[in-house]
Amino acid sequence: MADVTLTIDNKQVTVPAGTLVVDAAKRAGLDVPVFCYHPKLEPAGMCRMCLVEIGRPMLDRATGKPVLDEAGEAKIQFMPKLETACTNPVSEGMVVKTQLTSEKARAGQKGTVEFLLTSHPLDCPVCDKGGECALQDLTMAHGPGQSRFLFDEKQRLAKQLPLGELIWLDRERCIQCARCIRFQDDIAGESVLGFEERGRMMQIVSMSEPGFDSIFSGNTTDICPVGALTTSDFRFGARPWELNAAPSICAQCPVGCNLTFNTRREAKADGQIVIKRVMPRQNEQVNEIWMCDKGRFAYHYVESEKRLTRPLMRRDGKLAKVSWKAALDLAAEKLSEHKKNSVTLVSGRLSNEDLYNLNIFAGKTEAILYTDMGGGDLTSLVGVSDGTNIGDMGKGDAILVIASDLYNEAPIWWLRIKAAAERGATLIVAGGRAAKLDRFATFTIRYAYGDEIKTIEDLGGKSKIAEAFRKAENALIFYGSDGLGLAGSTSLAAACANLLKETNHIGRRNNGLVGVWPRVNDQGAWEMGFRPTADLAEALKGKAVYIVGADPAGDDPALAKALKSAKFVVVQDISMTATAELADVILPAQPHTERAGTFTSGERRVQRFYPVVPAFGESRPDFSITAQLARQMGIILEGSSLPIVFDFIAHSLPAFDGLNYDRLAEVTEQWPMVGRGDMYYGGTTYENKDGLGAHLSSAAQRGETFKLPAAKNVKPLRPKEGELLAVPVTQLYDLGNTVASAELLAQRIGAAAISLHPETAGKLGAADGETVKISWNGSQSEVRVRTDEGLAAGVALVPRSFGIALREPMTLTVKPAKKVK
């Protein structure tokens, strides 16, 4: 867009046309105070705090040319009244006088603050926002020292009101800026908040059941300019100025949101330094300034009671505490003894450095990635290229989401793809059931579970949708494992990769394949050379097994059985899992909050995380434990310096070429500017000072020649009469090890339930909420039934990590459970 030059407080500023005066001032380093305006939201002009004097060049009505004064300069006509800087876009020759140069603007802003304070309670000492509050800051900077209003006429409204179990509302503190409502409506796309009443009685209400039913609710507390919305998690946790901040990466999903952990030394925790809250950290290419509630509230697993503090060893059938030396000696001895017959099983919860060391450690022996989703080798070939940013995509671009319920699997991608669609990108959502993203899709494809490959093949053919995808300037495909197991998702990835290649959507920025992985660093594990195996139980049976960061026994009884028959089991994990219970040696590891490292996101962006809290007990970082174990077995690995391990990675893998820890810690200027002294502008999101990370290069980008495997066409599973097709799906809040310990989320996690179409459920005689007996593949279980209109008839959705071990689509029979009185 063309640039416009204007004068703000006697300073010449050149900004793109369409910029708002408040943003233009911000770019010029001048602060116009705001409450309701937020750079990520559409302006509303509700708070009247940004009042400034605006003058525009006078135009001659006859000629349309500017009127000149005696000196030959354009005559400026100021509006008789103050205008809001947040709703006025800049225009050529505009002259703006902010509170810095205009007495009138100063008086206007002072009056606005005085009005806002007429009913604001004196809660600052007990308010969680106190210390990082826009109203406090702006009152100090622009407000009056005294009020002329009657104390007894202060508005009294409900205080300490839970708006759902995650967010508290204090209606007296609210200044009716509607930032939260506008965030929910425009950005999160979940209109669950609204205003009730009018004038001074106007108040925020939740319009959903359960209250504030949104997975992005925590963000409203960040952008709330007062303490009206605060989180239950941090309620009275500490005063903001007492907190230390440590940059990190969220380990809950493959998006890799940049976070800041706030910590404090606490008497309640026996003087330990503990995590008090999680805040988003700006990375405009990953999570912008947002994060989901799972990332914000589910971090408690790192401090759970189940954390392992010391190495354990099985003695007389019981696990006993031993020294590191004893544990490592035994593990090394046994693993060496069965060297030819050993397996290393890792998960995507580990950092790149851990996985690199583990892969060398495994050497020629079997190295398995614990996952039910395939295709990571293809994302390395045709994955997104350097500079990819969903935030840049819009008109002329296409995004295809297939077999992935992004809302549950990767909420921030959901949010950003939705925004791209709203900017004009062609969004194609293909799935076996109705998904929340359908609402924003240009095209929705509903296939029968099992027809995923066919759907992609059709997109290569001739149809309106295929045409739109082919003609798009840039195209991304997000594929997942909704309703798919390892075989299905591997084929789907191949089909998607081929489609991208055929339509020439590879090797360029904003083009390529993205895997919606179940874990944070699955992509990294694929890059390091780990591959999943079709029959994991068979691979574990009778072997000496080294399991790192995975809990197969907790997920599937069949795998637990296989582990019981293993020769020797070494488990290296952060907490006591069902798998660890079966181990012969347990090595306590550190979660990402206690150490440094890097994760590779689904978009193949490598990002650094930093230590947040001191190590728990005697736990050690995974890469060092592996190095120590390897040393005992005669393999020399780097076990103390992470940057050195990363340099090894950069030298041995072409995708990592040219990357190092310094490069990953580089930061460039980001817009909007948030997290600085002007918290009223962008909210309490942290500024990114510790690295935006870097993309891995894909083979297509490097210009390598490669052959893509053809998609294996698996005959879709069609259930017989009396059976249902059970498909595994991912739920945002599940009972997995990294979520279940968050007590606050218990209500949202709920109990295990299979979802059925109401008609299917009706035929089976099971109503919503009733318990039924299900049997599949020789296993049986009792679960609740949930009805869902968005499903196809004859399909049963089985959520993963809820105790029902379904790793592939299968047929399932449902019987009413015996009535219990």
Binding site: V126, Q146, L150, F236, A238, R239
Partner: protein, 184 residues
């Protein structure tokens, strides 16, 4: 110079000494049997005050800790319920510690306190035999309860103690009848 002169000088000196010894009021206090009274604005050991109804004035806002130039105060807060109430309002101090070895008795904490909960009292008997004892926890700092049934925590009537900070009107302006000036 006569021989008498030194004796006279000696006598003079003795007169002053005797005057001081016999006629001046006694300044020495027989501490610890007798304790000296302190001045009205003396700044001694801190006391955490209570309201007349026994509820703690302290709301755990940590402003005293923020104001403290020697970082002697440590506060942690928790939530009040009507079932288990320590102070009016939603927040109370679950941990309140002052390190008396660090404290310089400047009184900034008193100034910062929004509820006048922390007051520097009369007690100057601060001696410890080890560093740990120099940290005074909340139980040591808190004023004794006026009567046994006013102890904290206690069960209180619902929706009565909803506000942490007492409403502070300026009484002078109020009496004058015209515009009321209230700090916002």
């Amino acid at each position: 110079m006569s021989l008498l002169e030194p004796i006279i000088e000696l006598g003079r000196g003795l007169v002053i000494t005797m005057k001081q010894a016999l006629f001046n009021p006694v300044v020495t206090v027989q501490y610890p049997e007798v304790k000296r009274e302190v001045r009205p604005r003396f700044r001694g050991r801190h006391v955490l005050k209570r309201y007349e109804n026994g509820l703690e004035k302290c709301i755990g806002c940590s402003l005293c800790a923020a104001a403290c130039p020697s970082d002697a105060i440590f506060v942690e807060a928790a939530e009040n319920t009507d079932e288990k109430r320590f102070s009016p309002g939603e927040r109370y101090a679950s941990t309140y510690e002052i390190n008396m070895m660090r404290c310089i008795f400047c009184g900034f904490c008193e100034d910062a306190c929004p509820t006048e909960a922390i007051v520097l009292g009369d007690n100057y008997e601060l001696s410890f035999t080890n560093r740990r004892d120099a940290i005074y926890p909340k139980e040591m700092l808190l004023e004794p309860v006026p009567s046994a049934d006013m102890t904290t925590p206690r069960k209180t009537e619902a929706n009565v103690f909803t506000r942490s900070v007492p409403e502070m009107k300026n009484p002078k302006d109020w009496e004058s009848g015209d515009t009321v000036k209230v700090d916002t």
